[in-house]
């Protein structure tokens, strides 16, 4: 038997660390950009002497951070603006596919310049599936910390929510959101979509000095995750997750189980934030390629692969007890027949 072919590429199990880096960077940018904007307003006002001592300290810190990269902060720092909902990145405008869809529904007309800003995210989603949820979403950063908090609370003997609902509920939420957008003529999903909510709330708090309408909602989703269902909002309610799941249904880049290495330990099922079933080759359209299951697998039994579909169930892992029992039974049957 060729054992070389069965080893997954050695870097795949370290992708989860890279994922935490990207999540942290996105979240840190969301916190930094409002401070950058406040600094820009101070620069534009040409009134350093009129600032209060705290404002002067902010000015000095931001000047130290940005002066290596820019000559004219008031103009040059406009290069990176916005949130993951919609933003500009060195002249490239990027928008959330959900924003494009919901705005089209609310306005009941196609506005191509805006729809084209969602093109790159859509193409990436078609190739990598629901990668936004695991790799970029600033709400995920907090939700995963929340999952860890729930883990430590359980370790301390407290009870946290472990309920399961039907994961198809989020498609209904997406549909209802679009219908409500058409009926009311305002982009309804923007008010309940966690990354949009958290992005703008961070901006409101830092730059405008007050919470908006979304903070209470976001805290309620955190409590829902903690007390009712693990990662409940993303699994069962998030309209964005629903859209990316549909777009990424036939993603070519997906995770596969190597049945020869698997020992049925089910750690992959326990770590999966989205309640999927890697143990039975059942990733489905909702896998976000976060690679947490690859990182935790003790026997290198999960790897990335290029395939438009999941494999059908391959049976119990060859290193597990169930497989050996079955083999034993098979042998007995064969010996009896012979």
């Amino acid at each position: 038997m060729n054992t070389r072919a069965l080893k997954p590429f050695f870097l795949w199990r370290h992708l989860n660390k890279l994922r935490w880096v990207t999540l942290s960077v996105v979240f840190a940018m969301l916190v930094l950009l409002p401070f950058v904007h406040v600094y820009q307003t101070y620069v534009a006002a040409h009134a350093y002497d009129l600032l209060s001592p705290e404002e002067q300290r902010l000015y000095d810190v931001m000047e130290g951070l940005t002066s290596p990269f820019t000559n004219d902060p008031a103009e040059d720092l406009d290069a990176i603006k916005g949130t993951t909902w919609s933003g500009t990145f060195f002249g490239l405008q990027l928008s959330d596919p959900l924003a494009a869809l919901a705005q089209t529904a609310a306005a009941r007309s196609l506005y191509w310049p805006f729809l084209l800003t969602a093109l790159i995210p859509v193409v990436f989603t078609i190739v990598f599936g629901r990668f936004f949820c695991g790799w970029i979403c600033p709400a995920t950063f907090v939700y995963e910390l929340n999952t860890n908090l729930a883990y430590w609370l359980r370790r301390a003997g407290l009870r946290t929510g472990q309920k399961r609902f039907n994961r198809k509920l989020k498609y209904l939420v997406l549909g209802i959101g679009l219908v409500l957008s058409v009926v009311t003529g305002s982009v309804m999903v923007a008010a309940i979509y966690p990354p949009a909510v958290i992005g703008r709330e961070i901006y409101y708090v830092i730059a405008l000095g007050g919470f908006g309408a979304g903070t209470v909602f976001y805290v309620m989703t955190l409590l829902f995750d903690l007390l009712v269902a693990r990662r409940g909002f993303c699994r069962y309610l998030c309209p964005g997750g629903a859209l990316y799941s549909l777009l990424g249904r036939y993603r070519p880049f997906r995770i596969r189980r190597i049945v020869e290495n698997c020992n049925d330990c089910a750690k992959c099922n326990a770590i999966c934030e989205f309640g999927l079933d890697p143990l039975r080759d059942n990733f489905g359209q909702e896998c976000n390629n976060c690679s947490a299951c690859i990182a935790i697998c003790p026997t290198d039994a999960l790897t990335f692969t290029i395939s438009p579909k999941d494999q059908p169930y391959q049976g119990p892992g060859h290193l597990g007890r169930k497989y050996h029992r079955l083999q034993h039974q098979d042998r007995q049957v064969r010996e009896e027949a012979a």
Partner: protein, 202 residues
């Protein structure tokens, strides 16, 4: 038996619908509608003239606020109702400087790029019963000296060089409201159809 199955399906369906609508209802409950004073809730420059169309086009991304040099663009919060997270300017706190950055950055053209003369955020209106020069309580002219449009938008009366009056060229940026020293703010920005320019021209 069949009826019972149908009833159960009906219950299940309505329960699912309720669960699916729950997040939107919750978000709406957290931002109940309240009437916004029009003269403290101006739309940013270049906003679509029809406010319903503006709310349809705006996705609440906050980019206009994030590029605004005087940070005058703020957003409807808990009092927003349907307009939650859409931008507005309160000239009594901070007024627009007509720099065009918000129009350039808006991804959905809810704020459309508009030449300076065509901008219509409203029109300034002066309450002659409270403005200092108009009631002969002193000399001022703060609104005239701050106006970025100058002669086109606001000027002094011919026979009393301290009494300001608004002209048709005013675009409603609200800088005059921001600088007005009179605490009761005798100058405010109103919808163009409510302005009384002709009266002032007398």
């Amino acid at each position: 038996m069949q009826r019972r199955g149908f009833l159960r399906q009906l219950t299940l369906g309505s329960g699912l619908l309720a669960a699916g609508t729950l997040p939107y209802g919750l978000a709406r409950l957290l931002a109940p509608a309240a009437k916004a004073e029009p003269h403290t809730h101006l739309r940013p420059p270049g906003a679509l003239a029809d406010d319903a169309a503006f709310v349809e086009a705006c996705i609440g991304c906050g980019l206009c606020g994030e590029v605004c040099p005087p940070r005058c663009i703020v957003f409807h919060g808990r009092e927003g109702g349907d307009q939650v997270n859409t931008p507005y300017i309160n000239p009594e706190q901070k007024a627009c400087i007509l720099c065009n950055k918000c129009m350039e950055v808006c991804p959905t053209e809810a704020l459309t790029e508009t030449p300076l003369e065509k901008i219509d955020m409203g029109i300034a209106q002066i309450d002659r019963a409270a403005c200092y020069p108009w009631v002969d309580r002193g000399i001022c002219g703060a609104c005239v000296s701050i106006c970025p449009l100058g002669e086109r938008a606001i000027g002094f009366e011919l026979w009393n060089q301290y009494r300001p009056f608004v002209k048709q060229g005013c675009v409603g940026c609200g800088l005059c409201v921001e600088v007005c020293p009179e605490p009761s703010l005798p100058i405010r920005v109103v919808h163009r159809s409510h302005g009384t320019v002709a009266e002032h021209r007398v």
